[in-house]
Every structure is written in structure tokens, then in C-alpha cells.
């Protein structure tokens, strides 16, 4: 509650002399009497008055303090707030699946949202938005708490990055014409645009979870070798967001069979990258896996489909092996027979690949 004249609250200090005077009054002097027999007869004749007399100072104190409180409140001129409008944004991005808070951050966020709704008045309006892979209005503005609670319960966990900025924009549009309105974001704070949102005046962020180190496979790509199709190159990148160095092991599996293992040593907030040469003639599902102890296990595994050996490449290998006639070779193959154009093409291709890998990140 806000007041128009906060200085008037100082008048509440008048309670101190009132209490001192009360204390002075209740300090009754002692009067020794030879016997109280006769006084008891006097008091017994007027029992009601006798019961009231000792309490009258306490009643007087309550009345005086009540009057003082009424004066102080009247002079302070309290501003009784009207209905408030709250848009509740619950982050259900992938990071909210972390288990550093039992059972998950998302469940903790839901509980926090429930507590917020339970503390609202009947005249307050609430809307619920989730900001997972897609922004979703779970419940429009309503003053029915049960609807909001049901909407919060129904928010699912997702594996995508949270679109919090978009969610805040949607929330702002919902309360654009409301006077006493605010946006409450319940999140772990790990979303794009967090710094901008944190400094916004109309947004309050309620954090759930704690800062924990996470390690993730950030890149995983595989392709067959053109020269030796039974071989393939696997690009693997592991990044650490932990404050301490981590040593672990990266396993590459083909349909649950380990085909390669590499030790991984990561510095604090470091990055590890390597291209593995594997001989894998079969096709199947190639899985990169490592298991550091972090709160979010979903990003410790990456999967790529390994294509079967291309027939064209087989033919090419066979042509080179058996000395196919130059006329029967297609123009590209013919040029490949010449070393310089072939090498040049490979170099260009590698450059394009490198450029794509490091600049466009189309494999990530």
C-alpha cells in the first residue's frame, strides 16, 4: 500500500508517550492493610465494577492507540490500489528440464507461478504464456485463478530454445491498454535476450534453479570419404560452460556398437573439436555420446544418419581401378582423371565446406 503523505506516518511515534503514560498508570502503589476482610466485603458488593476497574487502563490504552492509528492513517492518505494485470511468462525451453531443482526447473517454475496466483486478490487479472520453442498463450487475461492454475499445469517441457523476447512482446501487447500492469517472467535466466529483458522496467524476472556448469556436444557431422567410401569423417565439437576443467570420454557408436572413443579434456568454459576418421562400410545411425555429470543430460548425445556407400563413388573407384576408357568417362570423371583440376576442385570444395562449417554453421 502506498500513501500520499508518508511524512504523516511519523505521527505514529505519538504512541510512545501514550505507552509511557500507560506504564506509569499501571504502576500502582502498594498499600499495606492489616486485613483485607473488610475490603473484600466492599468489593464483593460491587463485583461487576471490581472486575472492570483493573481492566479499564488496558481498554483505555487500546482505545487511545486505535484513535491515534486512525488519525495517522487519515493524515497519511493511503492510496488503495485498483485491480492489477499480470502476464505470467513461464519459460519451458530446453534449459528448464535441468534437474538441479527437484524435480525439474520447469516444475519449480510452475510451483512459483501457482504461489503467485494464490496471493492475488479477486479483482486481479492474470494471463499465462509459455515461451518454449514457440510462444503460446496458455490462458488469456482472466480473474479466475482456477483457469490460470489449469493452464500452468498444462505447460509441457520442450527441447527447444526459449523464445523469451517474443513472449515478452506478446505480453506487452496484451497489457498495452492497462494501467496497473506488469509482466512476470519465471525462468532460469538462460535465454536469448536475457540482459535486455532484465533491464526492462515493466518486466520482473523470478529465477528458478541455480547456476550449474553444463557441457554439451555443440557440433556433430559425418560424411563419407569420396576416395574411400567405406571410410567416413566425423566432426565432433564439445563445449563447456563450467567454471572448472572437465575430463571425459567421447564415444561414437554405430547402431549401439562403439566404433570410436576419444578422450576429451576441456578447460573451464573451453571448447574441444576434432575430426575423426572412421572405417564404417555399413550404413546406420551414428551416435556421439559422452557423460559428464551435469544437470542437463539431453545435450550430451548427438545423432547423425550415416548414408550407405554411394554407387557412383563405387563406380568411380572401380573405373580408377580398372582403367576405364577416357571417352566413356563423364566430363566430371574425366577431369578428375587429371590431377590438377581434380585437386583444385577438391580444394574449392573443402574451402566451401570449411566456410560452411565455421561461418554458416549449417551442420549445427
Amino acid at each position: 500500500m502506498t500513501v500520499a503523505h508518508p511524512d504523516a506516518l511519523l505521527w505514529a511515534l505519538m504512541a510512545i508517550p501514550i505507552l509511557l503514560l500507560y506504564w506509569q498508570r499501571i504502576r500502582t502503589p502498594r498499600q499495606s492493610v492489616a486485613t483485607a476482610i473488610f475490603w473484600e466485603q466492599v468489593f464483593a458488593e460491587d463485583a461487576v465494577r471490581s472486575r472492570w476497574q483493573p481492566r479499564r487502563h488496558a481498554v483505555s490504552l487500546v482505545v487511545q492507540l486505535t484513535v491515534l492509528a486512525m488519525f495517522v492513517v487519515a493524515m497519511a492518505d493511503p492510496l488503495i490500489p485498483g485491480p492489477q494485470y499480470i502476464v505470467l511468462i513461464v519459460d519451458n525451453g530446453a534449459g528448464m528440464n535441468a534437474t538441479d531443482v527437484e524435480p525439474t526447473r520447469l516444475d519449480a517454475a510452475k510451483q512459483a507461478a501457482m504461489r503467485l496466483i494464490a496471493g492475488l486478490r479477486d479483482c486481479d487479472w492474470v494471463a499465462v504464456i509459455s515461451s518454449g520453442e514457440a510462444v503460446s498463450v496458455r490462458c488469456p487475461l482472466t480473474n479466475d485463478p482456477s483457469l490460470c492454475q489449469a493452464a500452468i499445469e498444462a505447460i509441457p517441457a520442450t527441447d527447444g530454445a526459449g523464445k523469451m523476447v517474443d513472449a515478452v512482446e506478446v505480453a506487452r501487447r496484451m497489457i498495452a491498454d492497462k494501467a496497473a500492469a506488469r509482466i512476470v517472467v519465471i525462468s532460469d535466466g538462460s535465454f536469448e535476450g536475457a540482459e535486455t529483458i532484465a533491464t526492462a522496467d515493466d518486466v520482473e524476472i523470478a529465477l528458478v534453479g541455480s547456476r550449474t556448469g553444463n557441457t554439451a556436444i555443440t557440433r556433430f557431422a559425418v560424411r563419407r570419404n569420396h576416395d574411400a567410401p567405406s571410410k567416413c569423417q566425423v566432426l565432433a565439437e564439445v563445449a563447456s560452460a563450467a567454471d572448472a576443467p572437465i575430463e571425459c570420454r567421447l564415444d561414437v557408436l554405430l547402431d549401439d556398437q562403439v566404433v570410436a572413443t576419444k578422450p576429451v579434456a576441456l578447460a573451464a568454459n573451453g571448447r574441444w573439436q576434432e575430426i575423426l576418421e572412421l572405417t564404417v562400410p555399413e550404413s546406420g545411425r551414428l551416435t556421439a555420446r559422452f557423460d559428464p555429470a551435469d544437470a542437463y543430460a539431453e545435450d550430451n548425445t548427438a545423432v547423425q544418419d550415416l548414408q550407405p556407400i554411394d554407387a557412383t563413388a563405387t563406380d568411380l573407384r572401380a573405373a580408377r581401378g580398372i582403367g576405364v576408357a577416357a571417352e566413356s568417362v563423364p566430363p566430371l570423371v574425366r577431369s578428375a582423371v587429371r590431377p590438377w583440376p581434380y585437386l583444385l576442385s577438391m580444394a574449392v570444395l573443402l574451402l566451401v565446406l570449411e566456410w560452411s562449417l565455421y561461418q554458416r554453421r549449417w551442420l549445427s
Binding site: T28, P29, R30, Q31, S32, V33, A34, T35, A36, P54
Partner: protein
């Protein structure tokens, strides 16, 4: 006692003479004639009052009359030493000491046996038994050592113990303020019922008869040693005065109905008047 032994005896002797001129009855009643049971030769130290002066005149020989030792008329004082006797200026206990001394003098002057028993919520103790005024010093020393004791006043219990302790009947002077929660009548009834002759000296503090304090006070009952929050108004003081006066009236009525000699003495009464009243002189101002 503020005065010395000799001075006190002198004053009591003087007051006895004054009281004798007024021919009023003393508190312990008229002197009883004691019958002689024989004669023996005088020996130095015998009380000159026991010398048979007629025989001396007729036969010119000093003979001393002898008396039956069981013919003594015992006079008892039941002295209230409860905490309520501490009140007053001088205190009620101080006035009670003076009254007891006067009664003791009066009793021993008549060759009676005199003893003091202190009580509060029961019998507290016994003083010396004396027969001669010259032994009053012993009594004074005992009285000087008395201090308020006990919790409350229980005259009935005191009387029950008293009648079993002292089998020889005689006057029993109760010196008390009679602040007995269970009433004073039962105690006197027991004494009367067992053949004793009770007398009453009720000591009153004027401040008790008309309290002067008003407002919020914590009343500390000296008898019960307990406190009670109360607001004293003019109205309640007026009602108290009425109740207290009714209490004094009830004491007088009871004594009058039962033929018990009764004296009600306030602590502000001059000492001389009090002693004169005890010794049988003119009545003091207090009722």
C-alpha cells in the same frame, strides 16, 4: 518498652491509686479474698502483706499466714501477635504490650498467678508465670522480645489449645484486633464453655477505621501475605467505614450479650488513659 522497669512500676502504682479513688471495676474484676490455712514463724524475706498483724499486736510475736497453694486465682492473657498487630503508630502490638504489663501488675498486686500466652493462627508460646510485682521485669523482657509471627488470626484454634493446656479456670484477657477471617465468636464461646471468664481488649488503629488512601492501589493483606489490585474511591471508602463500624458494633453486642467485659482501645489513645482504664479508673475516650 520505652520506660524503665522502676519507672513503669511507679507509674502503675500511681495509676492504681488514682483508679482506686474512682472506685471503678478493673478489667480483671474485684480482688478476691484468700483464706489462710495456717500460721508459721516469720522468717526474713516473707511478704509483709502475709504477716498476721493482729496476732502480733495481741501476742507480740511475728507470725506469717500460710495459704493453700491451689487457691491461687490464675489470670491469663492471650496476646495476639499476628502480622496485623504490626500496624499503627504506635503499633497495636506496642499498645498490647503496655496493656499486658498493666494487667500483669494488677494481677500480681492481688497475689494472683499471672501468665501470658501469645497466639496468631495458633498458640505461639508462653511467657513467664509470675505471682509478685517484683517479677514484672521478667514479664517485660518477654514482652519486649515479641514480634509479629504466623499467618493470620485463628482465635478458635487458639482457644481449643488453650483450654487443654491450662486446666485451672480464671479470667482470660484476650488482647487482639480480632481480625479473624472465621469470626471471633467461636473462640470466646469455647473459653466460656470450658468455665473460663473471658475479657476482651480490642485494639484498633484509627487508620483502619477510616482509610485515607484513594485511587489505584495494590492492597497487601498483612495477615494473608497476598496482594490485590483495587481502585479505591470515595464511595468504597464510605462503604468500608460502614462495614468496619458494623464490625466493632458486632463485637460490642456480642460481649454485652455474653456479659464479657470489653474494651475497644485505639492506638492514638494516651498511654496513661489506657492504663487507667485497665486498672479500673475512668473510662478512656475510645469505645
Amino acid at each position: 518498652m520505652p520506660t524503665s522497669h522502676a519507672e513503669l512500676l511507679k507509674r502503675l502504682h500511681y495509676l492504681t491509686l488514682v483508679a482506686g479513688q474512682s472506685h471503678g471495676p478493673s478489667l480483671i474484676g474485684p480482688r478476691q479474698k484468700k483464706l489462710s490455712v495456717g500460721l508459721r514463724d516469720y522468717s526474713p524475706g516473707d511478704d509483709y502483706r502475709h504477716v498476721d498483724w493482729n496476732r502480733c499486736a495481741r501476742h507480740d510475736e511475728l507470725m506469717t499466714r500460710t495459704f493453700d497453694p491451689f487457691d491461687d486465682r490464675p489470670i491469663y492473657v492471650l496476646l495476639d501477635c499476628s502480622p496485623s498487630m504490626e500496624v499503627g503508630q504506635p503499633s497495636k502490638l506496642e499498645v498490647a504490650r503496655q496493656i499486658t504489663t498493666a494487667i500483669g501488675y494488677l494481677a500480681t498486686k492481688d497475689l494472683s498467678r499471672f501468665s501470658v500466652t501469645t497466639f496468631a493462627d495458633g498458640i505461639l508460646g508462653d511467657g513467664p508465670t509470675i505471682r509478685d510485682p517484683s517479677r514484672l521485669g521478667k514479664l517485660l523482657r518477654f514482652l519486649g522480645q515479641l514480634a509479629p509471627q504466623g499467618t493470620g488470626t485463628d482465635l478458635e484454634r487458639t482457644a481449643e489449645h488453650f483450654v487443654h493446656r491450662y486446666q485451672r479456670h480464671g479470667p482470660v484477657v484476650v488482647v487482639s484486633d480480632l481480625y479473624d477471617r472465621d469470626g471471633f465468636r467461636r473462640g470466646f464461646d469455647i473459653l466460656r464453655g470450658h468455665g473460663y471468664e473471658p475479657r476482651l481488649v480490642q485494639i484498633i488503629d484509627p487508620a483502619e477505621a477510616k482509610p485515607t488512601f484513594l485511587g489505584d492501589v495494590e492492597l497487601l493483606d498483612m495477615e494473608a501475605a497476598s496482594g490485590q489490585q483495587a481502585t479505591i474511591t470515595e464511595r468504597s471508602v464510605g462503604r468500608y467505614v460502614e462495614i468496619y463500624a458494623a464490625f466493632l458494633d458486632s463485637v460490642r453486642d456480642y460481649c454485652s450479650r455474653c456479659s464479657i467485659p470489653c474494651m475497644q482501645i485505639t492506638t492514638d489513645t494516651p498511654k496513661q488513659s489506657v492504663l487507667l482504664e485497665i486498672l479500673g479508673g475512668r473510662p478512656v475516650g475510645a469505645t
